[in-house]
Each structure stands twice: as structure tokens, then as C-alpha cells.
């Protein structure tokens, strides 16, 4: 692990240890190393012993805010480590009245962007055995030797066009802020798809969605999918059929995306969680792009006080259909 991460981890651990042992929080949501070196899974730390497993590296992509929904049932007060996207997810849940602000302590971690293991493997040619990081470069260590690559080229898809690496809401900021970023290519793939003829676009989605296993991992990972009963499991009426066919896949993905219209924070957890790599962020971004064009610039999750565009209206709104 890079020196920088070690120094940062010490800082994080010191801060949360004080609160956890002092009783300010009963549980800390963080990350620990998973089965493989390139996995950092959620850590649920109750005491000092658990805190020893806490980690902070380039693979802490899991959005921890979502876990609050379950954990707040069992713990009175919870501390969460939040990156930029996690903090906007927190705002999302706050705005949906799913969590109480006073029962959560947020530790802000400005995020360098997380790495994608599949890209590491693709770039290295073989599965790397470890990495080293220094000054915006990643050294991939493989059996065949070492290879140095720019860090930006190895980022997760969701991190490539990140606008807000710094937490937008926190009680304590533990690391140095990185400042807002620019993402000129955020809508690039959406625009490319929009320019295709309708039939080709249908063929594209037919192909992409045909891989869908309907495992609903995208929903489980998503901070806006917080309904206690989801339409896919509803029996009366049964909206979502169980059959494996294009029709049902389209229904699920269009409705899943549409439920996030004006609410999606574009954290990309759905796409990261997808085991068959369906480009779900294109559907989400299409909705964000359209709503921004039609009803004014709005970034969900930035400010929990601002009303999402589909919960409000103006009498002179434009429409995407003829109003004559």
C-alpha cells in the first residue's frame, strides 16, 4: 500500500477510535480487506478489535451510506466514512426521510477515485499480484514484471466522470479536500446513442439488456432504491414478470432508471454492482441530462433542501411533446 494511504488510514483510525470508544457512536461503517487484495468490502466495527481491520485504499468503492438503512434498526448512533458520492447518497436518503440526521456521524474522506480490477487485468495482460501507487501513477506487479500506468486510465467507470470527489455533507473532514472536478465527457456515450436511428438504439439495448440476470444487484446497491416494497417483488399487481425475455428486461431497466429521475445522484453503484456489466449509467445519465435541459440544472444529492425536479413544477414548463 502506498505511503500516503497508510498515513491517511492512521488519521482516520485515530479519529473514529476516539468516537467509538468514547461512546459517541455505537457502530462504524468503514471498509476492510476482502478475500482478494483488490477487494475492499464494508466493515461493521463495534469495538477496538474490529477497528484493526479498517482499511483505506484504492478499492474502497462500496457506497456505505446505503447500509445505514439496515444498520440503524440495530444501532442508536452510527459513524460512516463518506466519500463524495457516499455523502450525496446520504443526502438522498435524508431527503427521502429514510434516516435521521442526528443518529449519524459523517467522517468526510475526499476521494482520489477508485480503481477497476478488470482494467488493471486488461492493462497488465495477466492478473496482477499487487499494485503500488505514487504521484498519480500505478505500478502493476505481475509475474512477468512491473508496468507503470497513469492512474486516470485505471479508474472505475463511475469515477471517471466524477464531479464531486469531496464530501458535500460531513461532521468532520478527515483528509485534505481535492476541489471540484470537471467532467466534459459525462454525457458523451448518451449523446452518441441519441444520434443513432431508433431501431439501432433498440438493438443496442436489446443486446445489452439480454445479459440481465434480474439479480437486482443494481437495486440493492442503489441509494435511491430505498422503497420498503419494490415494484419487482409486488404481487398485486405483478408488474415485473419472472420470464427471461427482452420484454421483461426492458420493463425492469426502464422503470428502475425512471424511478431515479431527478433523484439519481449518478454515483454509478448500479453499474459497478452489475455482474454482467450492463451500462446502466447511460440510462441514468439520459434522464439527468433531459431533466437538466428541460427544467433547469439540478444535481441530486448536493443539497438535501432543494426539491427534485419531478416533485415540483412551474406553470410555464416546456414539454417534450406538442402542446398545441
Amino acid at each position: 500500500m502506498a505511503e500516503r494511504y497508510l498515513a491517511e488510514l492512521t488519521k482516520i483510525r485515530d479519529a473514529v477510535r476516539q468516537d467509538l470508544l468514547g461512546g459517541r457512536i455505537n457502530l462504524l461503517l468503514g471498509w476492510e480487506k476482502g478475500h482478494y487484495w483488490w477487494q475492499s468490502r464494508p466493515l461493521f466495527a463495534e469495538d477496538e478489535k474490529d477497528l484493526e481491520r479498517l482499511t483505506w485504499d484504492s478499492f474502497c468503492a462500496v457506497n456505505l451510506s446505503r447500509y445505514l438503512l439496515d444498520e440503524l434498526k440495530d444501532y442508536q448512533k452510527i459513524g460512516v466514512l463518506v466519500k463524495g458520492c457516499d455523502s450525496r447518497a446520504f443526502n438522498r436518503l435524508l431527503q427521502d426521510n429514510m434516516i435521521a440526521r442526528e443518529r449519524v456521524v459523517l467522517y468526510g474522506l475526499p476521494c482520489p477515485g477508485m480503481l477497476d480490477y478488470s482494467l488493471l487485468t486488461a492493462v497488465a495482460g495477466v492478473a496482477p499480484e499487487g499494485i503500488d501507487e505514487e504521484n498519480g501513477r500505478v505500478v502493476l506487479k505481475t509475474v512477468a514484471g512491473e508496468k507503470t500506468v497513469e492512474r486516470d486510465q485505471l479508474l472505475l467507470y463511475k469515477c471517471r466522470d466524477c464531479l464531486y470527489p469531496d464530501p458535500v455533507v460531513y461532521d468532520q473532514l478527515l483528509l485534505i479536500p481535492r476541489g471540484a472536478k470537471e467532467a466534459p465527457e459525462r454525457y458523451k456515450s448518451v449523446t452518441a446513442l441519441e444520434e443513432l436511428p431508433a431501431d439501432e438504439r433498440y438493438a443496442y439495448w436489446d443486446k445489452e439488456l439480454s445479459r440481465c440476470l434480474r439479480c437486482y444487484a443494481c437495486r440493492q446497491a442503489c441509494p435511491y432504491c430505498s422503497c420498503r416494497e419494490c415494484f419487482v417483488e409486488q404481487d398485486k399487481p405483478r408488474w415485473q414478470g419472472r420470464a427471461y425475455q427482452a420484454s421483461e428486461n426492458f420493463l425492469f431497466h426502464l422503470v428502475r432508471a425512471y424511478h431515479g429521475a431527478g433523484r439519481c445522484i449518478d454515483c454509478g453503484e448500479c453499474q459497478r454492482a452489475c455482474p454482467v456489466v450492463i451500462p446502466l449509467q447511460e440510462l441514468n445519465r439520459k434522464l439527468i441530462k433531459d431533466l437538466n435541459e428541460l427544467y433547469g440544472q439540478f444535481e441530486a444529492g448536493l443539497n438535501a433542501e432543494l426539491e427534485p425536479p419531478l416533485l415540483t413544477y412551474k406553470p410555464n414548463d416546456p414539454a417534450a411533446f406538442s402542446e398545441k
Partner: protein, 152 residues
């Protein structure tokens, strides 16, 4: 995608599902009837309390189960029986229409129109127009349930 997706079949007639708001468009349809105006029988009207009642899944379900085109008709903005229902549906359906087009539907497959209860002639004209456009497009096979069978 098979090229036969929109292929025309001899004797095919389009099926258009029109979701009409109870207070304006459905009454507009009534007026068209009492005024003895005719419009194509391809249009099947489903009455909803308000265009804001429309769950986007209604539209997708219609496409799954045989509709070649879907029309949503509601009161003109400002005339909603519930004051603000159609202001909300204007935003919702605008973004939903764009999403449906993004998924690969032709823009004419899903339309929204404002038709008031005094616009019987407009109701008949719009139904005529959408049926004509769907006829020109051909049958819709996108998002069609594989188990669905045409009754015509």
C-alpha cells in the same frame, strides 16, 4: 434485432391505447360521440382519473401486450380538475417520453396531448392523426411480450 421487427403484415390494423383523463379528454371523447364525429376504432380508450394518475408502467405494459402506439390525453395545463395534476404529469411524461425514445421506440409510438372537454373535434382529429402515424410506422414489436399473440 430482426429486420422483421416493424414488418407489415397483410390485413394488419394498428392498436392504439389512449389513456384519457376523466375530466377533460374523456369528456372530449364523449362530445365527439354526441357530435356524431367519427374517429378510427383502432383507438381503445382507457379512462384514468387524471393524467397525473398515469403510472409509466401502464405505457410499457401496453407495449408489452399488443399496443402499437400509446397516447396520453389530459386537460390543458391550468385546467386540471385537481389543480396541479397535469403540471406534474407534463414533467414526468416529458422525461419518460425521452427515455422511451432512448430505449429505441420511434417518437410517434408514445404521445401526449392536451384535449379539453369542449374539444370534441380535436379529440377526433388527434385520434385520426395518431392512428395514421402508427399505420405509417407499421406494427410495433419492440418490448412485445414473447407470449403475446395477436387477436387480429
Amino acid at each position: 434485432m430482426p429486420a422483421a421487427l416493424n414488418e407489415k403484415i397483410a390485413g394488419w390494423e394498428p392498436l392504439v391505447v389512449a389513456f384519457c383523463c376523466n375530466w377533460c379528454s374523456y369528456a372530449g371523447g364523449d362530445l365527439a360521440g354526441t357530435s356524431r364525429l367519427s374517429y378510427p376504432a383502432n383507438v381503445k380508450v382507457i379512462r384514468v382519473p387524471c393524467s397525473g394518475r398515469l403510472n409509466p408502467m401502464f405505457v410499457l405494459r401496453a407495449f408489452q401486450r399488443g399496443a402499437d402506439g400509446v397516447l396520453v390525453a389530459g386537460c390543458h395545463p391550468g385546467d386540471c380538475h385537481y389543480s396541479t395534476g397535469n403540471y406534474h404529469s407534463r414533467r414526468r411524461l416529458s422525461s419518460f417520453k425521452r427515455l422511451v425514445e432512448f430505449a429505441g421506440f420511434e417518437p410517434d409510438r408514445f404521445e401526449v396531448r392536451w384535449i379539453s372537454s369542449s374539444e370534441g373535434d380535436k379529440f377526433a382529429d388527434e385520434m385520426e392523426a395518431i392512428t395514421g402515424r402508427i399505420k405509417a410506422l407499421g406494427p410495433n414489436r419492440k418490448m412485445r411480450d414473447a407470449r403475446w399473440q395477436s387477436v387480429t
